[in-house]
Amino acid sequence: MSRGTLSLERLNPLTTLTGAAAVAVITTAAGHWAFSLTVLGGLLALTARQARAAAVLRAAAAILLPFWTALLFMHGLFFPEGRTVLAELGPAAVTREGLLFALDAGLRTGVFVVAFLLFSFTVRVPELLTVLSARGLPPRLGFVVVSALTLLPAAADRIRRIRAAQEARGLVIGRSLASRLLAARLQAVPLVLSLVHESGERAQALDARGFSGRQPHTSLRTVPDSAPQWAARRVLLVLSLAAVAVRVALALFGGRA
């Protein structure tokens, strides 16, 4: 696996975000399984050159495999709109249209999932938020998103501590459903209590540090950008708009929605 030459981590986060959104929009507008398949292939080739390729693929598989299975089952067997019946299985009927529908929808979602996972696994979230708030999104949005990402592992750690404290006072968690439900109840309440309790103090500290101020914020962090990236974003934007425009025009004058 070669890495580095096409590493998305070096790009400005706005570029990768625009890229992911444009790929999703254009693929959806194109609305053809062959196009989706080509794009998906391209995305997978790009993924293979990333340092976190394995993580992206694992996450994508965890989402897509159950989804594809469900699609195949749903439309492969039951598709009342289908005309070309390939096989009859009692109440179910395998139709050509149903299978094509599943293929179409499945590949489109595949592109959507891989494109956005590729973005989120290669983006540095603080940089993304710096860029977005410089473009007018409320700075609080950045706070909320980053804070949630920081708290996530902290909350898991907190649950472990609470559980240790309860075991030190005689709690034995068995394998039965009732025992696990009891554990869930016993640990969820203190988790919420301690998080909410701390948040009160944090709110006051944030206010004292000017968090609620309405003057424009500045940023210590600078995010590298370049003219080619700027141009690339414009091109992607124009292409997406064009794709949607063509689709709307076809719907209005050409018949197929």
């Binding site: 603080p126 700075p139 950045g142 706070f143 980053v146 804070s147 920081t150 708290l151 907190r158 501590r161 609470i162 240790a164 404290a165 309860q166 075991e167 030190a168 006072r169 005689g170 709690l171 034995v172 968690i173 009732a178 025992s179 439900l181 009891l182 109840r185 016993l186 640990q187 309440v189 203190p190 209590l193 301690s194 309790h197 701390e198 009160g200 103090e201 944090r202 709110a203 006051q204 500290a205 944030l206 206010d207 004292a208 540090r209 000017g210 968090f211 609620s212 101020g213 003057q215 424009p216 914020h217 500045t218 940023s219 210590l220 962090r221 600078t222």
Partner: protein, 525 residues
């Protein structure tokens, strides 16, 4: 700048929403440029509440109704703000106020934004919010880092800082806007000697530069001793629901309040519950009953290491490298050691929360491996270092009753059981919390919270009491309760093992003193 005090405040009364009695009554405080002022009071005296009022964290915002006056010398005519307790009271802009009066809470971590991955970024957070230009920001960060001694840590992740470093970062975040007054709530709470030393030096540097520093503390430590003015708050229960908590008991210079360096009997300082270090009560020398009795608990060549993969750590990198320990009935054993030497890890071996990588733990002669921690808990009671992670119930009573009596079931609770209730109430009475049976544990003051955690341990009457830094955050009454609890436990034949960095306390209380260093225990003395 005007010639008067930088900050002058009078709190006629302050009451939390939903509280029947005011938390603070009739307190006046002033802070002059370059001065160090100490507000001393035991647990429940309302000193944190006072600090928050002075910091504008409470009035007109969350919390409660304030009657009184805040006056900011440097802010001219607009600096005098009156509160009448009504809903039309002025609402202070906390950010504008913090430019003059900065506050660092007892829990330094609460000061951090949680959204910055470097120390420099965290320091910058407050400046970014104010729209300070990047060049100016870099200068101020460099200045503040120099002042607080954080120069070499600027690129570190705040989550990885030690207690002392974290406290200095919190102070740095507070002073980066160069306030004229700095309020510090228990600045040394849960710091070891080295961490406390760095914070104390920082405070002295700030006063030398003209900042008025007000320290809120339950201990009259060396820093408070050098203050120019003391305000002592009361917290004694006077009976029939009356108490002098939140009332100003005395004010003056340390010299007038301390007679020959100790509080005179019956005076304000003694009544307040403030710990005056030289004045630690002397107990009768303990008789050692640890004769030839068989050990209650034995550790034989215990090795343990944390490893990222969860496997056994490589030899030589473990936290515990062959610990031998025998604990006999009626014995009090103290273990000291630097922060991070593995003291807490050692205690967790005793009750099975952590299992040795190799070696054996014997409880009453039987090996403990394979027995769940929840079962071992019947014999080994562990007091955690941070009570926030030990307390999880809705009321103090339910907290103590948790896990007492029969095994827990999903839809049945043990608090209904009369015997359990009685035992829980007795344990609460033993730590002096009988008036707080229905209080939420998180609403108790810090010292009472630790005592509640202690009550949860002694209610189970375990054969072994394992106490992790039991003295931290306790006021004088709390220390007395702890002494009594240990004495009673040893009297019924239990053994106590405590880990502490409070060496003087360990010497005064323990039968044996061990030191954990390099992963092994060695006798001290």
């Amino acid at each position: 700048m005007s010639a008067g005090p930088l900050l002058a405040a009078h709190v006629a009364s302050f009451r939390f929403h939903g509280a029947d009695t005011p938390a603070l009554r009739d307190i006046s405080i002033t802070a002059d440029a370059g001065s160090l002022t100490a507000v001393l009071g035991g647990s429940g005296s309302g000193k944190s509440t006072l600090a928050r009022i002075l910091a504008a964290w409470l009035p007109g915002h969350y919390g409660g109704e304030l009657r009184g006056r805040l006056e900011l010398g440097a802010a001219g005519a607009g600096g005098r703000i009156e509160f009448t307790g009504g809903s039309d009271d002025p609402r202070i802009d906390p950010a504008a106020w913090a430019a003059h009066v900065a506050y660092v809470p007892q829990d330094a971590a609460a000061m951090l934004s949680t959204v910055r991955d470097t120390v420099a970024g965290e320091l910058a957070f407050g400046l970014e919010n104010l729209g300070v230009q990047v060049e100016e920001m870099r200068c101020r960060i460099a200045d503040t880092a120099g002042l607080t001694g954080l120069q070499d840590l600027l690129e570190r992740d705040p989550a990885t800082l030690s207690g002392g470093e974290l406290r200095r970062l919190a102070i740095g975040c507070a002073v980066i806007r160069r306030p004229s007054v700095l309020l510090l709530d228990e600045p040394f709470a849960s710091l070891d000697a080295e961490g406390a030393g760095t914070v104390e030096r920082l405070v002295r540097r700030l006063t030398a530069e003209g900042t008025a520093v007000v320290v809120f503390s339950s201990t009259a430590d060396t820093l408070c001793r050098s203050a120019s003015h003391w305000t002592v708050l009361g917290n004694t229960v006077l009976g029939s629901g009356e108490h002098d908590g939140g009332r100003q008991l005395a004010a003056g210079t340390p010299g007038t309040l301390l007679v020959a360096g100790v509080p005179a009997d019956g005076d304000a300082l003694a009544r307040s519950g403030v710990v005056v270090p030289e004045d630690a009560p002397v107990t009768a020398p303990r008789r050692i009953h640890a004769g030839g009795a068989t050990p209650l608990l034995e550790l034989i060549d215990v090795r343990f290491g944390y490893d990222r993969a969860g496997d056994v750590a490589a030899p030589g990198t473990e936290t515990l490298r062959g610990v031998d320990l025998a604990l006999r009935p009626g014995e009090i054993l103290a273990v000291t050691g630097a922060n991070g030497s593995g003291k807490s890890t050692l205690l967790r071996q005793l009750n099975g929360l952590l299992r040795p990588g190799s070696g054996t733990v014997l409880l009453k002669g039987a090996p403990t491996d394979g027995t769940p921690a929840g079962v071992l808990a019947a014999d080994v009671g562990l007091l955690f270092q941070d009570p926030r992670f030990q307390l999880f119930e809705r009321t103090a009573l339910r907290e103590v009753a948790f896990g007492l009596g029969a095994k827990r079931r999903l839809l049945r609770r043990n608090g209904d059981d009369a015997g359990v209730r009685e035992r829980a109430l007795a344990a609460l009475a033993a730590v002096g919390l009988d008036a707080h049976v229905n209080t939420h544990p998180l609403e108790l003051p810090a010292s009472s919270r630790r005592l509640l955690a202690l009550a949860t341990v002694i209610a189970r009457e375990p054969a072994v009491l394992a106490l992790d830094e039991p003295t931290v955050g306790l006021d004088r009454r709390g220390l007395e309760v702890l002494d009594t609890a240990m004495a009673e436990a040893t009297a019924w034949g239990a053994a106590v093992v405590m880990v502490t960095h409070h060496l003087a306390y360990a010497r005064a209380r323990a039968d044996r003193l061990l030191r954990l260093d390099g992963g092994v225990l060695t006798p001290l003395d």
